[in-house]
Symmetry: C2
Amino acid sequence: MDKNNAPQPLYTAHGKPAGRIRQKNEESILAAAAEEFARYGFKGTSMNAIATRAGLPKANVHYYFNSKLGLYVEVMRHILELWDTAFDDLTVDDDPATALAEYIRIKMEFSRRHPEASKIFAMEVISGCECLSEHFNKDYRNWFRGRAAVFDAWIAAGKMDPVDPMHLIFMIWSSTQHYADFSDQIRRINGKRMTRADFARASDNLIAVILKGCGLTPPPTPER
Amino acid sequence: MDKNNAPQPLYTAHGKPAGRIRQKNEESILAAAAEEFARYGFKGTSMNAIATRAGLPKANVHYYFNSKLGLYVEVMRHILELWDTAFDDLTVDDDPATALAEYIRIKMEFSRRHPEASKIFAMEVISGCECLSEHFNKDYRNWFRGRAAVFDAWIAAGKMDPVDPMHLIFMIWSSTQHYADFSDQIRRINGKRMTRADFARASDNLIAVILKGCGLTPPPTPER
DNA sequence: GTCTATACTGCGATAGAC
DNA sequence: GTCTATCGCAGTATAGAC
């Protein structure tokens, strides 16, 4: 009976702390799957490749995640959890320049630290959002309208230029995600990977152009 | 012997104008392949799906294009032909505002008219540019450096703010291609496809923000 | 829990009748 | 030039020994 009272890391029928192994393996598989899905999309990825990358036999992947689609949605779920945490608490009383600069910096940091997540999301959207169809539900559209409303309020208050909020958000999304999704193109163009300092410079540039373009004065660059 | 003197639309051994059929079929296949590759990438696309979409038996696709990879590079070649035609003749003497606005408008028009081309390119880059490795050669990097040099000259002449040319180009590329690559996300967010007028508004917004962000005065919007 | 062996399907590609 | 039939292989998924 004690077994049933155990917390989240479940125990097996043998009473052994197999949760440890399970957790470790599931993480390996999820990480391997993320890399493969980021490169080849859902259809282009094979369970074999995922298993090999995770250092496990193919059957084990099916043991932990029943099907390829199941594994995919799990990977997707993890990504969407990482996402959308910022920019949630945006209000009319915030300073537009500070809020926008902060959002751009957060998005860029995400591109730098989780490029695979961005790529998987991009692949999924390009492929027609078959798996994300329920993600773009009423809640999501309401979130989007909420942010747009704040922009409109700022504009009405004369705090910034009359820029279409939707297109502004798209602009921020695309220009920041670009550094994750197209990292290979960037690498080939200037012959080397983007360093942390390169990302900082890119952030500064984006913030300078976008904020000035909206009639805002960029806040001072934070210390680095 | 006359057969051998015939111009490009070749004739078959039967002397019939089979070039017509060949041309028509090849076009169908290329169009079908573009749609499939745009959705599923190279690995995720099957020759069967292409053949079905083109309304031909699978074997015919192999007859016209020897292999899947051959067909893919052919599709890619067509795309790269469409691309990169604009912005080539940029010189220091051009007016920055006019030139940038024009480039943004051209890129947006491309996103509107050839979304599949943009998607295939995006997929290829996200997948690591395996097929495009030779596309990013010295010539390409020189092209890029050439444009950047013009920006630097404009900046040195005090015609625009000191914006990093590379990041500015990335910004224009990403924000315009976004309307092609992420069209599905956009459609789901605001419940309908972007119309021609929507694209025009998006262009105007991008031009307004980016040009002002670079310290430039946008030229008057052309008549529509 | 783990892994080998295997069922079954769909893939890219080709042979060969028409 | 066109299309059916088929080869060989890689794909997802599962059964069952350990």
